[in-house]
Amino acid sequence: MRKFYTLLAREVRGYFHSPIGYIVVVFFLLVTGVNYYFQISFMNQRPASYSVQEAFFNNVFFWLPFILIFPLITMRLFAEEFKLGTIEPLMTAPVRDLQVVLAKFVGALVFYIALWLPTLLYFAIFQKITQQPAANSAGAYCGSYLMVLLLGMFYLSVGCLASVLTKNQIVAAIISFCAITLLFFLGLIQYILLDVSGGMRDWLGYVSAIEHMATYSRGIIDTRPVVLYLSMTALMLALTYQAFQSRKWRL
């Protein structure tokens, strides 16, 4: 366990040792901050049937930066070690492959959570200034941030897999960006193709991140997306582990 923590600490510190970490933080907080400002401005102009918190989590200015940050967070994880050759001292130390894969994933997750924490301030500031609640219920906060966590775990695991496949960080970023965008747009098909059949529509709704967020941000916590995202994360990490171990295959 100590080796896992050692690896994890290095991963997390690695984000703050490189400029990428700071660039991602600034970019993300800037765009989400502007998004928050826009939502409040819109709601100021006409009566709305939704809360500030629902508006914040369900619009294009939320999804756009959301999808973009995952390639940036995960591209260096394995690719950089392969490129620099530091994988050699790392894997000749007495550590297990699984410890390394999990430490990298959890490290990315810790950074991702740290990225989201300041957004809680948006709501706190809103309530402080307007003396009005930003959400309809505490459950709505829990739901939306739980969905942020679940989606984050899944997309980060996709990024891990992309990074383990290449030693070029740019290639890793492109693979994960394409994969995540495709997965995300699966959920949009039902809006574009109006004549999809009932069964197909249900299935697309089941994998639609937008639908999930719409439900969860109202404070309705459905267990189906939890199962979906946790199992998909496990699958992606299992594939990452296999790909990472492939250098040891006796061919």
Partner: protein, 315 residues
């Protein structure tokens, strides 16, 4: 300490090493020589548990490097070629990290890291970013990393490459001192270094072991062992013809330096022909200004073994 049996590694379309067999005993300093691409790094990577062999077995302190990889790796300090390091970490921070990763007990980390920094002369750069270090210091960080968990076995892949002569001398002294407590397997291109530090030498060429012995025995074995250099004014005589008649002399090449002729003689090993040359010169009234025996070096051994095989290869 190291036991290698029939070790073979094939990459797509080519065989890097084939059927290697050797053992390194406790406390030995084993030199690993060979031209570029001979399979030195491949062998070391397999021993360090970084990649598997295609067939054959290798073990460290009785632990199979593939089946019991963790146990084998925890007894090992490995310094890879070109010393890849995290450029964004500071020297002390990196060594602390490596010590923890290698399972040095918590309360001993600070002590061990201080020890290896002292040993490798890293005190003055301990707070610097690794990315800002010169090649020599990076090399030392790699060595300090290999030593930090007090391993029984050190595997060093070209530890002195890219260092200046002073640094090479320091590293050589360091390795010699380490050899008292550790078993060491090191590869290098610098042959005088091997002669000075290693108790045994393996010469590997095209993935096969061509020789494995002590440096002295290797020197004794090679055909072109000794050589004699003679500088003389031979007057009307050709010189070379007469020298060739001396028994034991295999080949004479002649150079000219103004009036002086410089003969390089290749002599059968174990023979000293200088006395006869002196008598010949006295009888023929040659003026001698140099008559010296050239000791064969490992370089001769290396060139002989690797070169003769290259010419044999096409058949």
């Amino acid at each position: 300490m190291i036991k290698v049996e029939n070790l073979t590694k094939r990459y797509a379309g080519q065989t890097a090493i084939r059927d290697l067999n050797f053992e390194v005993g406790q406390g030995e300093i084993m030199g690993f020589l060979g031209p570029n691409g001979a399979g030195k790094t491949t062998t070391m990577r397999i021993l360090a548990g970084f990649m598997p062999a295609t067939s054959g077995r290798a073990s460290i302190a009785g632990f199979d490097v593939f089946e019991q990889s963790l146990q084998a790796r925890s007894r090992l300090g490995y310094m890879p070629e070109n010393v890849p390091l995290y450029n964004d970490m500071r020297v002390t921070e990196y060594l602390d990290y490596r010590a923890a990763l290698k399972g040095v007990p918590h309360r001993r980390v600070a002590e061990r890291v201080a020890d290896v920094k002292e040993l490798c002369g890293l005190r003055e750069v301990e707070r610097k970013l690794i990315g800002a270090l010169s090649k020599g210091y990076r090399q030392r960080v790699g060595l300090a990393d290999a030593l930090v968990n007090e391993p029984e076995l050190l595997i060093l892949d070209e530890p002195t490459i890219g260092l200046d002569p002073n640094q090479i001398r320091q590293v050589r002294e360091l390795i010699k001192n380490l050899g008292r407590q550790h078993t060491i397997l090191l590869s290098t291109h610098i042959l005088p270094e091997v002669e000075m530090t290693c108790s045994r030498v393996i010469i590997i060429h095209k993935g096969r072991i061509e020789a494995c012995d002590t440096p002295d025995n290797l020197l004794g074995q090679i055909r072109q062992a000794g050589g004699v250099v003679v500088e003389a004014k031979t007057g009307k005589d050709d010189g070379a013809e007469e020298l060739k008649k001396i028994s034991g002399v295999r080949e004479v090449t002649t150079d000219q330096d103004d009036d002086w002729k410089i003969f390089s003689l290749r002599v059968e090993s174990g023979l000293d022909v200088r006395e006869e040359i002196f008598r010949l010169a006295a009888a023929r009234k040659w003026t001698l200004r140099e008559l010296s025996q050239r000791r064969a070096t490992l370089e001769d051994v290396f060139v002989e073994i690797t070169h003769s095989n290259q010419t044999e290869m096409p058949t």
